[in-house]
C-alpha cells in the first residue's frame, strides 16, 4: 500500500474524452447504446470516481434523429449514482454543485450527415480540446465496423494507443498504468504516457444500466463541422452477412485404401511417447520437461 499523503499529492484530475457511437441490437437490429462504447464510459466513470474533479467529455460524430437520440441518451443516463456506488458521499455533491466531476449533463455532438467520414472532425475536435485520455470502443456495430478509427486517431494525433483494455489501475504524474487483456484470460500491465488513446472490447467491466431520468434531462451540445462524404464506402457493395460455408475435410488420397483409412481411423496423436516401468520421479521429470518446453509454468 502506498502512503496516504503521497497518494493525495499525485491525484490530479484529468480530462477524459469518451467517443460513443450508435449500436445495433444483434437480434432486433434496433438502435441502442453500443456495447463496447458503454464499457468505455464505465471505465471513464471509474476513473472519475477515483480522481475527483475529473471531467468526462462524451463525444459523438453523426446526425441526430429520433432513433439515434434515444440510443445516445442511453449513455447519458449512466452517470447517476457514481458517488453511491463507490461509497464516496461527497463526490456526488461536489460534482452536482460545480457541474464538473460527474458531468454527464451533456454530450458534444459533432453534427454531420449519414455516410460521412467521422475521422477528420474528431481529430480536429480532439486536437482543439486536448483531453489527456481518449477512450473508444474497439469497433462500431454499424457501417463498416472495421475498428480502424482508434488507430486513425492515434496516427493523426501522434498519441500512443493501447488496445483491448481490461482496467485502469492508476493515473499519476501524467502516466497511466493499465491492465491489457490478452487472449486466454491473461492480463498484461502497461505504463503509458499521457495523452493516450485507449480502445475497449469485451474484456472491460460490463456497463451499468442507464437511468431514464438523468438521460431525459441531459442536453446535447451541437458543434457544426465541415463534413466530407465517405466516397470509398459508397462504392462498396454492402449486404447482410451470409453464413460462411463450413470447411470440408478434404482428403487427398491416391487410392481407395488411403481414403478408407482416413475415414475410418480415429484421431490419434502421432509419435506419442509412452513411459512404462518408470519411477514416479522419472515420469514427473519427463512431464516437467514438456511443461517447460511449452512455457506454461510461471
Amino acid at each position: 500500500m502506498r502512503p496516504e499523503q503521497q497518494q493525495t499529492q499525485q491525484k490530479t484530475a484529468i480530462n477524459v474524452a469518451v467517443l460513443v457511437s450508435i449500436g445495433r441490437h444483434p437480434t432486433t437490429g434496433r438502435a441502442r447504446r453500443a456495447e463496447q462504447d458503454a464499457r468505455g464510459l464505465e471505465l471513464a466513470l471509474a476513473v472519475a470516481a477515483e480522481l475527483p474533479g475529473s471531467q468526462i467529455d462524451l463525444l459523438h460524430a453523426g446526425s441526430k434523429d429520433v432513433d439515434s437520440e434515444a440510443a445516445l441518451r442511453g449513455y447519458l443516463g449512466m452517470a447517476t449514482g457514481v458517488g453511491m456506488a463507490t461509497g464516496v458521499g461527497m463526490a456526488t455533491d461536489v460534482g452536482m454543485s460545480t457541474g464538473v466531476g460527474m458531468g454527464l449533463e451533456s454530450m458534444t455532438l459533432l453534427e454531420q450527415p449519414e455516410g460521412s467520414d467521422a475521422i477528420l472532425p474528431l481529430v480536429e475536435h480532439l486536437a482543439a480540446t486536448s483531453p489527456q485520455l481518449v477512450i473508444t470502443g474497439a469497433r462500431a456495430e454499424r457501417g463498416e465496423g472495421s475498428g480502424l478509427l482508434p488507430y486513425a486517431l492515434a496516427e493523426h494525433l501522434g498519441w500512443p494507443l493501447v488496445n483491448s483494455l481490461a482496467s485502469i489501475e492508476t493515473v499519476e504524474n501524467g502516466v497511466v498504468t493499465l491492465l491489457q487483456a490478452l487472449p486466454r484470460g491473461q492480463r498484461r500491465r502497461l505504463k503509458v504516457r499521457l495523452p493516450a488513446i485507449i480502445s475497449v472490447d469485451e474484456a472491460a467491466p460490463a456497463a451499468r444500466q442507464s437511468a431514464f431520468g438523468p438521460a431525459r434531462r441531459a442536453t446535447f451540445l451541437a458543434v457544426p463541422t465541415s463534413s466530407e462524404a465517405d466516397g470509398e464506402l459508397a462504392q462498396w457493395h454492402l449486404g447482410s452477412a451470409r453464413k460462411r460455408p463450413k470447411r470440408l475435410k478434404i482428403i487427398k488420397a491416391a487410392s481407395a485404401r488411403d481414403r478408407f483409412k482416413a475415414a475410418a481411423s480415429k484421431a490419434e496423436g502421432k509419435g506419442g511417447q509412452v513411459l512404462t516401468d518408470v519411477t514416479p520421479e522419472q515420469g514427473a521429470e519427463a512431464i516437467y520437461k514438456l511443461l517447460k518446453e511449452e512455457d506454461v509454468l510461471r
Partner: protein
C-alpha cells in the same frame, strides 16, 4: 547380350515348387537377378509372362495375420507399413526471381504457426501463384523465437526473422518500425495479417494507417477480379459481423480464420533474408511491465491455456487441487469425476461439457471416452498419467506416463516447488 531369353528349366521348376529344399535360395537368386535383395516377388517367366510370388510380399499385421497392401506403395519384399506411409510426395518449389512480394506477419503463438496462420499463408500462396508464368514470393516476418522446423511446408519462400528482446511482449512501435523497413526495401504488393486478438489485428491496423491504406478487415473470401485495381476482390465482415462488404482487395488485408486452404502440396524454400538498412530505434511511450499473474481458477475453461484434468483414476482430490494450484493450471474433470461429486459441473470437459482449446492438457486418471476425446480435439499437447497402458487417452497423448497418479503428481509438485525455490534464492 542376345535377345534370346535363357532358361534354366530346373531352377524354374524349383521356384514353382515351394516344398523343394532349395526353393528359398533359388527364389533369392532370381531376386538378385531382377531387383536385388530378398526373395523375388515378380519375375519374367519363360514365355515372357510375369510370374508373381504372393508369399514373398506383404507384412505381418498387428493381429499376427499376414496382410498384403495392394495400393502399389509396397514394392515386394517384407517392407513394413510404416516406412511406406512416410514417403513425401510434395513438390519442391523455389522462386528465385519473384515478380512481386506478398508479405505475411503470422501471430506465431507459442512459437508455432497456428491454424489461422496456416490458412493465411495458404491465401498468400494463392495470391502469389495466381499467374503461373510470373509467380510472386511469400515473405514472412517473424518476431521472437520460433519452434517451427518446417516453415517452407506452410508455403513461405523468404523469412525475415527478428529475434530480439526489443520485439518481445507488447511492442507495437518497434514492430511497426520493422514492417516499415520491409515496406521500404521490398515494397510488397500485398500485406496479409490475421485478424486475431493475438496481435495480428492490432499490428495490421497500425500498419495500414502508417501506409495510408484503408485496410479490409475481417476478410473471409478472396476472389480474382479483373476490374479491381489490384486484380482481386474480397468479402469482409463488417458491423459486428452482421454485414458482408464486397470491395476490391486493398494492399493491407486482415483475414479471419479459414479464409483459404492451407498449403499441403508443395514445399517452399523458406530462405532467410535480412534487412539491409538498420531499423531506426523508436522511443516508445508504452512501457511493458510484463504479464500479471491471474488466478487460474477464474479463467474460463474453454479458453484456458493449461488444464489439469482429473478422472476416475484420481483417488486423493486434495492432492490434485494442490497440484493444480502449484502448477498454475485451470482444473478440469471427466464426466465420472463430476457425476461422483468431486468436481463442479462447469468443470466437465468433453462433448457434453466444455470443448477446450488448451495448449497443454494434462489428463490424470482419465481413460479417454470418445466424448472426452472430442472435447480435447483442439488441444495442442496432451499429457496422460494413467495406470492402464492400453487406454484410448494414451493413444491420443503426446506424452504418457504409466504409473500411480498420486505419486507422479506429488513428485511433479515437489520438482516445481524445488525449482521455484531455487530461482528465488538466485534472485
Amino acid at each position: 547380350m542376345s535377345e534370346i531369353i535363357r532358361r534354366d528349366p530346373r531352377r524354374e521348376w524349383i521356384a514353382r515348387n515351394r516344398l523343394h529344399p532349395d526353393h528359398a535360395s533359388v527364389l533369392a537368386a532370381l531376386g538378385v537377378n531382377s531387383e536385388g535383395g530378398g526373395a523375388a516377388s515378380e519375375w519374367l517367366g519363360p514365355n515372357g509372362v510375369v510370374r508373381k510370388n504372393p508369399r514373398a510380399i506383404g507384412f505381418i499385421g498387428p493381429n499376427g495375420v499376414k496382410r498384403i497392401d495392394r495400393s502399389g506403395l509396397q514394392q515386394g519384399g517384407q517392407a513394413t507399413a510404416t516406412t511406406t506411409a512416410a514417403r513425401d510426395s510434395r513438390r519442391r518449389v523455389t522462386i528465385d526471381q519473384p515478380a512481386f512480394m506478398v508479405a505475411v506477419v503470422p501471430d506465431l503463438t507459442g512459437g508455432r504457426l497456428s491454424s489461422h496462420d496456416k490458412d493465411l499463408l495458404g491465401l498468400a500462396r494463392r495470391v502469389a501463384d495466381a499467374d503461373a508464368e510470373q509467380p510472386g514470393a511469400v515473405v514472412a516476418i517473424l518476431f521472437g523465437e520460433h519452434k517451427e522446423e518446417a516453415l517452407g511446408e506452410a508455403g513461405i519462400d523468404r523469412v525475415v526473422h527478428l529475434d530480439d528482446e526489443l520485439y518481445a511482449g507488447f511492442a507495437p512501435e518497434a514492430r511497426l518500425a520493422v514492417l516499415s523497413a520491409v515496406e521500404r526495401e521490398m515494397t510488397p504488393r500485398f500485406w496479409l495479417l490475421p485478424d486475431s486478438p493475438l496481435g495480428g489485428a492490432d499490428l495490421g491496423r497500425r500498419l495500414a494507417l502508417r501506409l495510408g491504406e484503408r485496410a479490409a478487415t475481417g476478410v473471409w473470401q478472396v476472389e480474382a477480379d479483373n476490374e479491381a485495381s489490384l486484380g482481386w476482390r474480397c468479402t469482409a465482415r463488417g458491423a459486428a459481423g452482421s454485414l458482408d462488404i464486397q470491395r476490391p482487395l486493398p494492399r493491407v488485408a486482415l483475414t479471419l480464420a479459414e479464409c483459404a486452404e492451407p498449403v499441403d502440396e508443395t514445399r517452399h524454400a523458406a530462405e532467410p533474408v535480412s534487412l539491409a538498412a538498420p531499423i531506426p530505434t523508436t522511443l516508445s511511450r508504452i512501457e511493458d511491465l510484463g504479464q500479471v499473474a491471474v488466478d487460474p481458477a477464474g479463467v474460463a475453461l474453454a479458453e484456458a491455456e493449461f488444464i489439469l484434468s482429473g478422472g476416475n483414476g484420481v483417488k486423493q482430490w486434495d492432492a490434485f487441487h494442490h497440484a493444480a494450484k502449484v502448477l498454475g493450471a485451470t482444473e478440469g474433470a471427466s464426466r465420472v469425476a463430476v457425476d461422483d461429486g468431486f468436481m463442479a459441473r462447469d468443470r466437465q470437459v468433453g462433448a457434453t461439457g466444455t470443448w477446450v482449446t488448451a495448449r497443454v492438457y494434462m489428463a490424470v486418471g482419465i481413460s479417454g471416452a470418445i466424448q472426452h476425446l472430442q472435447g480435447i480435439q483442439r488441444c495442442d499437447k496432451v499429457v496422460a498419467i494413467n495406470l492402464d497402458p492400453g487406454c484410448d487417452m494414451i493413444k491420443r497423448a503426446d506424452l504418457a506416463v504409466i504409473g500411480d497418479s498420486t505419486q507422479i503428481l506429488a513428485a511433479l509438485v515437489a520438482m516445481v516447488e524445488q525449482q521455484r525455490g531455487g530461482q528465488r534464492d538466485a534472485a
